[in-house]
């Protein structure tokens, strides 16, 4: 194969590649051997440490599935609340009036530059001090508050970028036929921008799902990670096996979301109806949201 980095390979390069493959294979095998050796010595590969996940359903019904449900609940609530908020702030940042545009920009930039964990800790204390939310519900409220504040500002940037990617002719034509500013946004720009933004929004969901784990580790919200800790304790410090299982669940869940996002993106790019503008997670550049914890 040819790429920007190297040409199609001749016989010498092919021989060298075979050699490199063998060397790399040996290195990976050595590394695996070393890891398995350590795990074996500590008795972490004994069937007794793993059997609860394969035989019987107690580990799943008592710990893993309720934890997963809490994770999904927090993520879904956050995205449902954050989306309209983000849309409002994203549109406000494009306003013609400086007194709307500037404050919206300050709010968005402020919440984007603060770690989610700090927002969650703040939320927890806020609900404890100023509201009558019961202490059982507080962690969920705090996790959702933190995630909403952060992700609404990230989504605001996605919305803004989505509207900006549309060709200028769209709003010019809309204004030429006499639509008002609100109508241009509502009838012409937003419907197209939403389609263009869909892949980026789905990618942001991955970030939200991953960030719920913070609530389990620091705020005692009983989601997947914290239920794994409880489970590990119940089965006698079974950390390695428990963490492997929940890691696989996170990977499967997020990989499905990522694949869905790129499928959407491909479909939208092929579609003839839209203007063909598509916003991916990589495009909404100042974001770094896709990198968040």
């Amino acid at each position: 194969m040819s790429s920007v980095l190297y040409d199609a390979q001749g016989p010498r390069a092919k021989r060298r590649n075979v050699l490199l493959t063998v060397v790399f294979l040996v290195l990976v095998a050595l590394l695996l051997w070393w890891v398995i050796g350590i795990l074996w010595d500590k008795g972490q590969l004994d069937w007794a440490k793993w059997e609860m996940f394969f035989t019987g359903s107690e580990a799943w019904t008592t710990y893993i599935l309720p934890g997963l449900w809490s994770t999904l609940k927090a993520a879904a609530l956050s995205v449902i609340i954050a989306l309209p908020l983000g849309a409002v702030f994203g549109i406000a940042r494009l306003s013609d009036h400086a007194w709307v545009r500037v404050p919206a920009g300050v709010v968005v930039e402020f919440f984007r530059s603060i770690p989610v964990l700090v927002l969650m800790i703040f939320g927890l204390a806020l609900f404890a001090e100023y509201t009558s939310v019961s202490s059982d519900d507080r962690p969920l409220y705090a996790v959702v508050t933190g995630l909403v504040l952060y992700n609404a500002s990230v989504l605001a940037e996605i919305v803004r970028a989505g509207i900006l990617t549309l060709p200028k002719g769209q709003s010019e034509a809309a204004m030429a036929i006499g639509l008002r500013k609100g109508q241009v946004m509502r009838l012409v720009l937003l419907p197209q921008a939403v389609t263009a933004m869909l892949p980026a929004i789905v990618s942001q969901l991955v970030v939200i799902v991953k960030d719920t784990a913070l609530g389990g580790a620091v705020l005692t919200y009983s989601e997947l990670l914290s239920s794994a800790n409880t489970m590990s304790g119940f089965y006698g410090a079974n950390t390695i096996a428990s963490y492997t299982v929940i890691a696989v669940i996170y990977i499967a869940l997020n990989f499905a979301l990522t694949s869905f996002a790129s499928w959407l993106e491909r479909r939208l790019r092929q579609g003839k109806k839209s203007t063909g503008a598509v916003l991916t997670a990589d495009d909404n550049q100042p974001n770094a949201g896709a990198v968040a914890a």
């Binding site: 790399f24 500590k42 770690p115 700090v118 204390a125 991953k210 950390t239």
Partner: protein
């Protein structure tokens, strides 16, 4: 109003945050560059390894990785990275977790930089008779690095914010201090504002300066 601050080591906590950020940044830049080299190499097995690493690590929450470093590596397997006392063990494990996680994003940032270079650039360079090394060092990589600045800056900013996850294993950085102060003092809004401003000071200039540099050096196409 600010009296209570004398009882806490605010600067020390933010200094730990900065240390975590810098050490992890250097480590993940090295490991991420190696991964990127594998992901674009002509050897299919290395490409597969790089792709698998990125797809696996990117989809696990950082919190899970860092907690695993503490509970799994240190407490279960007694891998302490050569440290003896509780504080430095957890600090080193946090840096390890941050490197493992951030390297996947560094790899993607570098790869996206390489992807912006049109194949025609390399083909033209080969056509005028440049060798493989010359094509790489004179034509392709200079353009690739210039397009990588902005995505790498975003990774650095995200890393700065992600260091707060180290609070989950008791590293005495800014978020852990915030939690402690909120529990002991009745100054919720003031404490939160101070910590928030601290992070704004750490991340905003990085974003502005590197964003400006990134725009300036980017290849206009």
């Amino acid at each position: 109003m600010f009296d209570f601050l004398e009882d806490y080591d605010l600067l020390g906590a933010f200094w730990t945050t900065v240390q975590l950020t810098l050490l992890s940044a250097v480590g993940s830049l090295i490991w991420g560059t190696l991964l990127a080299a594998m992901r674009v190499s002509p050897v299919p097995l290395m490409r597969g390894f790089g792709t698998a690493y990125v797809n696996i690590v990117r989809n696990i929450p950082l919190t899970v990785i860092i907690l695993f470093a503490s509970l799994g590596l240190s407490q279960t397997l007694s891998i302490n990275l050569g440290a003896d006392d509780f504080d430095s063990i957890n600090f080193r494990l946090a840096v390890l977790g941050l490197i493992v996680y951030t390297a996947a994003f560094v790899c993607e940032a570098l790869r996206s930089g390489i992807n912006t270079v049109p194949v025609g650039q390399a083909e033209a360079a080969r056509a005028i008779g440049l060798s493989f090394g010359q094509v790489l060092t004179l034509v392709v990589l200079p353009q690739a690095f210039r397009s990588s600045v902005t995505p790498l800056a975003n990774v650095l900013i995200a890393l700065t914010k992600n260091t707060t996850v180290a609070a989950a294993i008791g590293v005495a950085e800014a978020a852990l201090l915030m939690k402690e102060m909120i529990e002991n003092e009745a100054q919720l809004l003031l404490i939160s504002a101070i910590i928030a401003v601290g992070f704004v000071i750490l991340t905003l200039p990085t974003g502005l300066i590197l964003g400006w540099v990134g725009k300036k050096v980017a290849v206009k196409r």
